[in-house]
Symmetry: C2
Subunit: 305 residues, 2 copies
């Protein structure tokens, strides 16, 4: 039994030790959240938070995932700090797939800020150590990767090769990734996309994921679909200009939005997953008994004042 197997077995044993009361109806996801304590949440760091302000006055907030794609995330931070994205556009909206913004492929590229790596390494997966694996919460097995679940609040697929366990971020609804051309190009971060459809898991381990939309995705997902190839807007007039993209850490403290995400190495999260997998009465007749890793819908939002 290797370390991972042991840890998973222990986690399973702990989960099964949770007190349950079989005379009670199954707990609903909202009941689990209502019972969560402040310690069950973690704050979103200001240096990991992008504030995108669109020309229509609406804002979209993206949490960055520096652990999984450090060079790409560093690029995005540098581009934001230099106000490089300001004046670029949302120019692609493809039904049941992605919305894309920033640089338009084929158009002249404004000079990049100092330190931006034009061809980052292929940060499509990372090796995980025992400490990380101890914090991994399994959601499902055998769907795209041997194991799928959450590590430090991020949906991730695990694969094992010899003694190495690798983790790759999963493309769920709301995942933000880096557009690119054909390999070896991995994209520099000048064009970004967010998923607005059924999880396009064939993109996993093929593109660099840099984060997720934490609030405001509906502003992008409700845009008119582009009528060009791949949902590109065919005219400049259709494009939605981006007024500004800022790292929250560069805003005055009182202007920084405060978000939080449910931690995923907790009993509260395991109960939440179980509740999502077993929706019960009065509405549901037959609980599914399991849940897709992308249908867990990890709770996240504004932190209470």
């Amino acid at each position: 039994m290797n370390t991972l197997t042991l840890l998973l077995a222990l986690a399973g044993a702990l989960t099964s030790l949770q007190p349950t009361n079989s005379s009670q109806p199954p707990t609903s996801p909202s009941e689990v959240l209502a019972a969560a304590t402040p310690e069950d949440w973690r704050a979103v760091e200001a240096d990991d938070l992008l504030v995108i302000t669109l020309a229509n006055g609406k804002q979209v907030f993206v949490e960055l995932a520096p652990t999984f794609a450090p060079v790409h995330v560093d690029n995005v931070r540098r581009l934001a700090r230099a106000h490089w994205y300001d004046g670029s556009t949302v120019h692609r909206v493809q039904e049941n797939y992605v919305v894309q913004w920033g640089q338009v492929e084929g158009e002249p590229v404004p000079p990049l800020p100092e330190g931006v790596i034009e061809q980052p390494p292929t940060e499509y997966e990372v090796s995980l150590n025992d400490s990380q694996l101890a914090r991994f919460t399994l959601v499902q097995e055998g769907h795209y990767t041997a194991r799928s679940g959450y590590l430090d609040t991020w949906p991730i697929g695990l694969e094992t090769s010899g003694s190495r366990v690798s983790g790759g971020l999963i493309h769920c609804y709301g995942t933000v990734g880096v557009g690119r051309g054909n390999p070896p190009d991995t994209g520099s971060g000048i064009e970004l996309y967010a998923v607005i459809g059924h999880a396009p898991r064939h993109l996993d381990r093929n593109l660099a994921v840099v984060g997720r939309v934490i609030e405001g995705l509906q502003t992008m997902s409700s845009l008119p679909r582009g009528t060009g190839d791949l949902g590109m807007y065919e005219t400049a007039e259709e494009r939605l200009p981006i007024t500004s993209v800022r790292l929250a850490s560069t805003l005055a403290e009182q202007e920084r939005p405060n978000f939080r995400v449910l931690r995923t190495d907790t009993t509260a999260f395991r109960r939440y997953v179980e509740a999502r997998a077993n929706r019960g009465a009065p509405f549901f007749v037959r609980p599914a008994g399991s849940v897709d890793v992308c249908n867990v819908l990890l709770p996240m939002g504004r932190a209470p004042k």
Copy 2:
């Protein structure tokens, strides 16, 4: 070995007998479609096609699935024939979930046309016979149900209990179902929803699925999200009126739109699934090797003149 196992084994053997040329790059989904013959497609029957015309002038087309929920589909046809939906509204748009139209819960219900069954049976699954099972094409195993795949062009989850194999339609992006209150209510069809997010598979075998949007879903999915509970529009002004809902079979022949769907009991479809599971060069670095039943994206659209 029971009949189903035998049939699946035979299907597997046939698939593995397909001629392949390992010196060629993997075939792409579009190459498979380009090589499909007219016999690989089936027409959408005019009596199975709903034409929804919205007040903004746009149209949404829904193909009905009478095999799986005959009483609910009969209700929907009767409601359409009686023009019952005309003047109702799209009144709920919930991000990453559903758009809903027709009757607004809690508001007075106009008289129902003759023959509409107010409390249909729980048509959430059907028993499948050997002939149907022979036409079933497996896409994946162990995800929500033991087997998932396509039967007569519909995504379906199979479960086996003794000698009975049941099939339930799967809630994918674009699936159309019947809104309802708490059980034993199954919904009469006066309120309908379409999925506009990641497949909400917990709805499978809990609500009656009556069809899928075959064209025009982007008109609904790009509507502003409702700000009320469950994405309900909070004011009457936000609601988008429905000008008319017609069964194509009641339109003059020259006004009937002609749609087609790729058949799923064919080599062309099996190749298409394989191509969707193994996206290759020049863009993809690492093919996924499998595909979620809801990410097959069954080809469908206007029939060529």
